[in-house]
């Protein structure tokens, strides 16, 4: 079982099962992307969720890293031709937003201090 699975398994609430499933689907899709930025983004998000769950970083640092990654995503979009932007941008931002708004709050709610 991966470290991410261990972290996510701490979240048992039925109300976030859909979000967990969506998160894992998005993560899997992004990791399989042919675009290096999208793939790298997925690896970072996974790593930071694990780091947060095992107290290597705190919530403020996690939020700060996520904000860094959003700026990198803006830069990524700025380098792309308009037609090529849509899917990679959507997948990247969707993963960042779901992680920040659903997964991490649920994880923090069950994480021992």
């Amino acid at each position: 079982m991966s470290q991410l699975d261990n972290a996510l398994n701490q979240i048992e609430s039925d109300s976030v099962q859909d979000a967990k499933n969506e998160f894992q689907q998005l993560l899997s899709e992004a990791k399989g992307s042919s675009d290096a930025f999208v793939k790298d983004n997925a690896g970072k998000v996974e790593n930071w969720v694990v780091m947060l769950s095992n107290n290597t970083i705190d919530k403020e640092e996690f939020d700060d890293l996520m904000a860094d990654q959003k700026l990198a995503a803006e830069q990524f979009v700025n380098t792309q031709a308009i037609g090529a932007q849509a899917h990679g941008q959507h997948l990247t931002l969707q993963l960042l937003d779901l992680t920040a708004t659903k997964i991490v709050p649920a994880l923090l709610a069950v994480k021992p201090d």
Binding site: D58, E61, Q75, N78, T79
Partner: protein
Amino acid sequence: MTHATKRGRIVAILFLLASFGGCQTGTDQATLQTLTSLSQFQLGFIDTYTAAPGKQWDDSKFQSDIATGEAMFTKAMAGVTDQKRKNALEILHRQFQKDYTFLRKRAKEGKPFFSVAAAQEKKQTIEQNYDLAKKGEVVRS
């Protein structure tokens, strides 16, 4: 027109063409060099404000480093009209502003400096951001 005059005009035209070529290359190289300088500064800033045993917070140095970075970004963005180049620099500037705002807030809360773990991750993302900005320059040239 004499043969010498014709030859002189050809030389002048070739010089002008070479100058235009030089300007184009110079402009791209200048922007790439600016991005390299900003990147070195910004990564160095993260290192300076990463926790280490015995490291003490020096607020006057912190303010001075912010002023240095702001001056570098002001200079880099002066006269930039290319929209994508402007966007790229603004994104990098916001990254710098975000980092010192974060540090300032943490210092006030008694938790100065980035942790080693967060700084390592942050530096990778900042490097990636600069690499993308440089890629944007190369794509345009």
